[in-house]
Point group: C2
Chain length 339, copies 2
DNA sequence: CTGAAAGCGCTTACAG
DNA sequence: CTGAAAGCGCTTACAG
């Protein structure tokens, strides 16, 4: 734009370069078709005028909004991964020349109306879904309408396959690896600390399943406790019941970082040393993980890889597929694992 | 859209209603101009076809993108307020019929190029700025180009006024109120715990200023300590130096919730009881505040009010103005204040 | 290789 | 109150 706020248009570039408007359009969209000499001439004009095509005009002509829709979760702060995920997603989408439109919507089937509006207004070309829940209605709804989307997270369908394409982190695998690592380090009472089911959160169950299966495989006891809320306090109470047992665990695998920090506080209150007397692990590698003394051993979700995959799936066309990515265990002093 | 993915257009609505296209446009944009009878007829057609105007076509005609740009902070997770803020902002903007486009940009003056692109492409009508830093270059740059924007946060200009319109939370006022409340409750050694300056963060200094001024006014000593990092561990170490003093404080005002939680952990480690032996306060009312046992007394930033103001300022036209909003003290057991 | 034509789906004055 | 006209700023076949 010029300093007076007037936007530069194709027409002005064409005039300055002494060519027609579609020649300018061609150097932008199909440069190989235009003579190198005029190409240079046009590029010079574009440069000198600081021209950039209008997104709206281009969108109208191409019938592509150039925008991907992403619904912000209803409970901000529910997951500490939300923020890094959104950041990585924005960058991944920008890398393909599109941009991210965020919106809010009611939970459940009611929220579908917002998706419908966005589609009807042709405000977005596709959606990225996250914060998926068991039996999430969005996937089937979008798929049946032929709207492109990619999902971070599974819908854990009771039966049949999940509609559309998804990518997720293998929580079960990561927790199993944690158990193996703890066992190799000499632990044989490895407890799990999760959330008490308010809502069915598939990821939480998945993590627990990984822990449980590996304990069974190794012939270890299955001690578990559940926090009443997603809080340090809830986790501390749950950890207390574990530690008060006749045969208390020597390691606790928590389903999330916040829970793990709560466990650590309870461990410390008992004058026990995390990473020595009791080993503690979390999940997410959130800002809390580097916040506790010595750091928290946790599972990092590969944000860049997740979002790059998501963007790739967006353009994969209709169909069903799933990608399971490995979480990476980050060892810190709360559970000094040898990796 | 119809089930086959074909979008409904104005033309189809006009045909079905038996009127011209601009009559349809009129019932949408200037209903008072059209006869009630035909208005009904058109509305019925719109309803039955599930018509919604194309955002792009409308944008091209009105020269309004209908989109507001918002740059995601470079360091996700830096502030626990990011997530609630973004959520509230999205809702506030949607309430005015527009939507939010999020983007990423390099820090500092280099990031201006991204803003310039968005403007040149006419991808957004205006910007919301947050995560402002001392001497933030964006405000002056946008103002000088006549690009509408509103800022959450001040740029703390050394001299002169801040360009454009801003809203901020009165951190100094909230901390002064905290000091008054603690003093009324009988405390006369009220320490401050902040961050050791890595980058100049105006808000942090503002909070400290409020604490300091009020301590002076009340004739209280000014004890302060600083965490080396924004972590519980850093805060715990800083708190230790405070508590090891010959005249240790009986209350600690921390500049953020994460710091406060670190203070609490240090307090507990010393077998002291938060809210009894030592009172502790935080700032942000983040998810951590309800996460520690008994809860953390903290200052809530009024997200809905902030974002509603931001949206209002966006449409206030060029000029300079500032709105300072009060933070609300939320009293919990870490510092059971009488409010 | 280049340009005249048509069109994307709306809105905005402006006649009737 | 209603409709014919022009235009928003691009792109996409399609002649030349």
């Amino acid at each position: 734009m010029t300093t007076d706020g007037q936007a530069v248009t194709l027409r002005q570039v064409a005039a300055q370069a002494g060519v027609s408007r579609q020649t300018v359009s061609n150097v932008l969209n199909a440069p190989e078709r235009v003579d190198p000499a005029t190409r240079l001439k046009v590029r010079a004009a574009i440069e000198s005028l600081g021209y950039q095509p209008s997104r709206t005009a281009r969108s109208l002509a191409t019938r592509q909004a150039g925008l991907i829709g992403y619904c912000l979760a209803r409970h901000p702060g529910r997951s500490l991964f939300t923020d890094p995920f959104l950041h990585a997603l924005t960058e991944a989408i920008e890398a393909t020349g599109r941009r991210l439109l965020v919106f809010t919507a009611p939970e459940g089937a009611e929220g579908l109306a917002t998706y419908a509006d966005l589609i009807a207004q042709r405000a977005v070309d596709a959606f990225i879904l996250s914060d998926t829940v068991d039996g999430d209605p969005r996937h089937g709804w979008l798929a049946s309408r032929g709207v492109p989307f990619a999902s971070f997270g599974r819908t854990w369908p009771e039966q049949g396959e999940q509609p559309g394409r998804w990518v997720d982190v293998d929580g079960a695998g990561a927790c199993a690896e944690l158990v193996r690592g703890l066992h190799s380090a000499g632990h044989d009472r490895i407890a799990f600390l999760g959330w008490r089911d308010p809502v069915p959160v598939g990821a939480a169950k998945d993590r627990q399943r990984g822990w449980r299966d590996e304990c069974r495989r190794l012939g270890l006891p299955e001690q578990a406790a559940y926090a009443d809320s997603d809080s340090m306090e809830g986790a501390a109470h749950a950890a207390a019941t574990l530690l008060d047992a006749a045969q208390p665990p020597t390691a606790i695998v928590a389903a999330g970082d916040l829970l793990a920090v709560g466990v650590i506080s309870e461990v410390r209150r008992r004058e026990l040393r995390p990473g020595h007397d009791i080993w503690v692990t979390g999940f997410d590698d959130s800002l809390l993980a580097t916040s506790v003394e010595g750091g928290l051993t946790t599972v990092r979700q590969p944000a860049a890889e997740i979002t790059a995959t998501l963007v790739r799936l967006l353009d994969a066309g209709p169909g069903r597929s799933g990608v399971l990515l490995d979480g990476r265990i980050v060892s810190r002093s709360s559970a000094p694992l040898d990796l």
